[in-house]
Assembly symmetry: C2
C-alpha cells in the first residue's frame, strides 16, 4: 500500500483524497454503478455522528421526524413550474416492476417537496396546525452528469431535509435565521471553515424565493456546498393547495421553508480541510476512536504493559477509547495506521510509563507529545480534545481567509482562480455580467455574505458600471 | 372522529388497525402511490427506537455498520439462479434518468446480497479477514402484487439486514444461533408473542440452504413474519467468487449468512398484539411518551396544580415524560387521547393530590388506578413500567398459545383457520401434501419449531403415511 504521505492535499488534492478515503475505510468507490458508493465502517460511523448532531438540534428546536416515500408521481413533480424545470434533467425514473410496465411511471426523489407537500395539504386546516416542522434523514438521487467524486459529487446523496410551514411571512423569515443557526452550530462542532452566502437569484433553489448556502473551502480552491436554507414563500403552498384558516377566519396559503444538510458533503469537508500528509485528522465529535492506546511491548513485560494500557483505557472512559493490543505489528506500524485513521489523541504506554505511572500523549493535529501523570490523564485528555478542536477550527478559518482575495480585474481573477483562490469582487447585479465573469475567470458567483453586509465602493468588475454587491467567486463542486 | 372504541380488534381487525394507525399518528396511507406510506411522528419515533434497540445488539456482537447502494445491475442480480428466480417478479427497475434511456437498467434492491457480495469479494483475502459482519438499516423495495396494508404489506419496507461471512460451516451454524438470539432479545423487549420456525424447504429464502423465521400472531389469526435468519452456505460465495486463503494455505469459498429484521412488521405486531378497544398500548421501550401527566385544573388553583404537575415531571426524569398543559381540553378528553396514543402510564394531579402530596397513577394495560406518595413516585413508576411490560409479554404469549390448536383432520383444519386459529399438524414432508393441505385448509405450512424438537407420533394429515414433522399452519401476511 502506497503511503498517503507521498501526496500533499494542496498540490494533489484529487489523488490524495481518493486514496485516503479508501485507505481510511471511509468510502469504497469500486461498486460497478457510477456515483453509487459504499460507505465503509468509518465513513458510516461519521455519517451517523453527523446525523445525531444535527437531529439533536432539530429535535431541540421543535422539528419532528417523519419518513416519506422514495418516489413521487409525474403529476406531483410537475406542479411547481420552476421546480420541475430545475430538476427534470437529473431525476431517475421507474417505469417497470416485475418485468411489467407500470401504469404510471414513478420519479425517484431528487428532494422531497413534491412528496411531502400533498400530505401537508391533508394535515393543515387552521392556524393551530402551524408551524408544522418536520425533518427526515434519507438519501436523494440525482443523475449527476459531471464527473463523480466520492462524497463530493455522487448520484446517491445522504442528507437531511427539513420542511416547515408558517402562518406569516415574518415567521418564515425568522425560521430562516433559526435554520442557519442550527447548521452553523453543527458545522462549528466539526470545526470546518465555510462562508454563509445568499445565492444570486439565478442560482437559487428551483422554486424558492431566495436561498442561503454554506460553502466550505477545499484544498484545490473550490467550494463545497454543505447546506442550504430556502425560503419558498407561497410558491409551493399555492400549487399544492395548502390552506389554513387564519385567526381572523380567512383562508390563506401559508409560507414555507425547506433546508438541506449534506452529510456526505460535510464528511468531505472534514476530510479535506483537516487532513494532512499523514492522513485524516478528525475532530473529536465524530472520531470513531477518540483516543487510541498503544502498548509498547517490551520483552518479558508484555502482560504488565498490557494491563497498564487497559487501566489507562478504563481511566479515559466514557471517551471512545481503543487499546490496540495486536502483537503482529510494531508500535511504529500502529502509529502510522492510527495517524492515517485520524484518531485525535494517541496514548503510548511502555516500560517507562508503567514504572513512572505516566502516559505519553500524542496529539494528531500538531504531532506534539507530552508526558502526563496517570492521575491527571482523564482531565488532561478531555481538555486536549477541546484544544485540538479549537485548533482545527482556527486553522480552517485562517486558511479560508487566506484563500479569499480581492480582485478588480478579470485577467488577475483568472490567475487567482487557477492559483486556487476564492475571489471577492464587486458586481452590478446583472446576470449578463455574471455569465461574462464566469467565462472570463473560470469561477462562478456564489453570492453575498449572509450575516455581514459588505458595501461595494467601486464599479462592477465586468461592465464597470456602479457595483451593487460584493460577491464571492469560486469554482464549485 | 369516530372512536376506535367502536371497533374491536378480534372482530374487525382491518378496520380497527387502519383507523388506529392514522388516529394515533403512526402512518398515513393516503400518499398517492400504492404501498408507499408516510410514517408520522409517532410511527417514526417507534421505528427509531426499534432501530436503536436492534443496532445496539448488533454492535455489541461485533457487527459493523456500512451503507450500500440502492441499486444493483442486471448482471449481478442474475448471478445466483434461485435468487433471481425468487425475486425477479417483484423488483422495481430504473430504465431512464433525466429523460434519457440509461445504457444499462438498474434494479432497485429487494434485499442487498447482490449489492454487498461483489464488494465482499474485494475485501476478503485471507482467513484473517473473517468473520466479516456488517449491517445496514435501510428500505428495500418489493413490488407486492397482493393487496397492500400499512406496515404489514408494503412496497417500501424499512428493515435491517445483516450479512456475515465465515471460514467454516460450523462457525456459520453458530452464527445462526447468535442471530436468532439477537432477534429474540429485541422482540422480547417489545413484549410480542411469536413462534421461531424453520421454514419448509419450499419456502426458504431464494438462494438459502435453510431459513429460520420469526412469526408473530395477529388478532385476525394470521401470522406476520417479523424477522428471518438465512444460512446461505456457499451458494452466493461461489457465484460471487468470494475466496479466502485458509490457515493451511488453500483457496476456499467462505460460508455466508444473511438476516433481516422488519421494523415496520415489528411495529405492526406491537400495535396488533398489545392494542385494545381504546387504542394503542405501548411497551415502555418504544413509547414516545412513557408517562403523561394530566393536571386536573380546578378554578383558582390552576397555577398551583400546574406547578405541582411540573414538579412531578421533574421527579420522573429521565423517563420520557410529558405534561399535557393544554387548557382548551377537559381532562376527560385528554385521557381519551392519551389512551389512544398508548402512553403506558398516566399520572393525574388535581387539588387533592396537591394537598396530600400524592399522585394518581393509571396504568394503560389493565386500566387500574392507584394513589402514590410523591416521595416514592419515581421508583413506583419505574417498577410499574416493568410490570406493564411483563404483563404485555405474558398476555401476548398466552393469546398465542390459545390460538394454536392440534388438528388431525383437514375439514376441522379449515374450520379452525376460519376461526382465526394457528394449526399444529403432523406432516410427511412432501411438497405435494403441503400444497394439498394449503388448498384444503386455507393456510400454509410455516415450518417446524426451531428451538424445541417436536416428535410426530401419528400420520400425515393429508396422505396418512407416516409423519416426519410437526408443523404450524396459518394464513400469513
Amino acid at each position: 500500500m502506497a503511503a498517503v504521505t507521498a501526496l500533499n492535499k494542496f498540490r494533489n488534492f484529487s489523488e490524495w483524497f481518493d486514496k485516503l478515503v479508501l485507505d481510511a475505510r471511509i468510502v469504497d468507490d469500486r461498486f460497478p454503478v457510477k456515483g453509487f458508493a459504499v460507505y465503509l465502517e468509518n465513513g458510516s460511523f461519521i455519517l451517523r455522528r453527523l446525523r445525531n448532531l444535527l437531529e439533536e438540534e432539530l429535535e431541540a428546536t421543535g422539528h419532528k421526524e417523519m419518513q416519506f416515500p422514495l418516489v413521487t408521481t409525474d403529476e406531483l413533480f410537475g406542479r411547481e413550474a420552476q421546480h420541475i424545470k430545475g430538476f427534470m434533467a437529473e431525476v431517475f425514473t421507474i417505469e417497470s416492476a416485475g418485468n411489467t410496465k407500470l401504469e404510471r411511471k414513478l420519479i425517484i426523489r431528487p428532494t422531497s417537496e413534491t412528496i411531502m407537500y400533498p400530505m401537508f395539504k391533508l394535515w393543515i386546516r387552521s392556524h393551530a396546525d402551524l408551524p408544522l416542522m418536520v425533518y427526515q434523514s434519507n438519501n436523494v438521487y440525482r443523475y449527476e452528469t459531471k464527473a463523480t467524486r466520492p462524497l463530493f459529487r455522487v448520484r446517491e446523496i445522504p442528507w437531511n431535509e427539513a420542511h416547515t410551514v408558517h402562518a406569516t411571512a415574518s415567521e418564515a423569515e425568522d425560521q430562516v435565521k433559526k435554520a442557519v443557526e442550527i447548521y452553523r452550530k453543527v458545522l462549528d462542532k466539526v470545526c470546518i471553515g465555510y462562508l454563509i452566502l445568499r445565492r444570486p437569484d439565478f442560482d437559487k433553489f428551483a422554486g424558492a424565493k431566495y436561498s442561503i448556502a454554506f460553502d466550505a473551502w477545499t484544498p484545490d480552491g473550490r467550494v463545497n456546498q454543505v447546506g442550504t436554507v430556502h425560503n419558498l414563500g407561497k410558491n409551493f403552498s399555492k400549487v399544492f393547495e395548502i390552506e389554513f384558516e387564519s385567526k381572523d377566519g380567512k383562508r390563506e396559503n401559508p409560507y414555507q421553508l425547506c433546508y438541506g444538510f449534506g452529510y456526505s458533503r460535510v464528511l468531505a469537508a472534514i476530510i479535506a480541510q483537516h487532513g494532512d500528509d499523514r492522513g485524516l485528522v478528525l475532530p473529536s465529535e465524530v472520531a470513531p476512536t477518540q483516543v487510541v492506546i498503544i502498548p509498547i511491548y517490551f520483552k518479558g513485560q508484555e502482560q504488565t504493559i498490557l494491563d497498564y494500557a487497559r487501566r489507562v483505557a478504563e481511566n479515559l472512559k466514557p471517551l471512545r477509547v481503543f487499546v490496540d493490543e495486536r502483537d503482529d505489528m510494531t508500535p511504529g506500524e500502529k502509529f502510522y495506521r492510527w495517524e492515517m485513521l485520524g484518531a485525535p489523541v494517541r496514548v503510548e504506554v511502555g516500560p517507562r510509563e508503567v514504572s513512572e505511572n505516566k502516559a505519553t500523549v500524542f496529539r494528531r493535529d500538531t504531532l506534539e507529545k507530552e508526558q502526563v501523570d496517570f492521575e491527571t490523564l482523564n482531565s488532561y485528555v478531555k481538555e486536549l480534545l477541546r484544544k485540538i478542536d479549537s485548533n482545527l477550527s482556527q486553522r480552517s478559518k485562517r486558511i479560508m481567509e487566506q484563500m479569499i482575495t480581492d480582485i478588480t480585474d478579470l485577467q488577475k481573477g483568472r490567475e487567482e482562480i487557477s492559483a486556487r483562490k476564492i475571489l471577492r469582487v464587486e458586481w452590478c447585479g446583472k446576470t449578463d455580467c455574471a455569465e461574462k465573469l464566469k467565462e472570463a475567470v473560470g469561477g462562478e458567483i456564489r453570492g453575498t455574505l449572509y450575516d455581514i453586509t459588505e458595501i461595494p465602493t467601486g464599479s462592477c468588475i465586468v461592465c464597470q458600471q456602479q457595483a451593487r454587491e460584493v460577491v464571492y467567486v469560486a469554482r464549485a463542486y
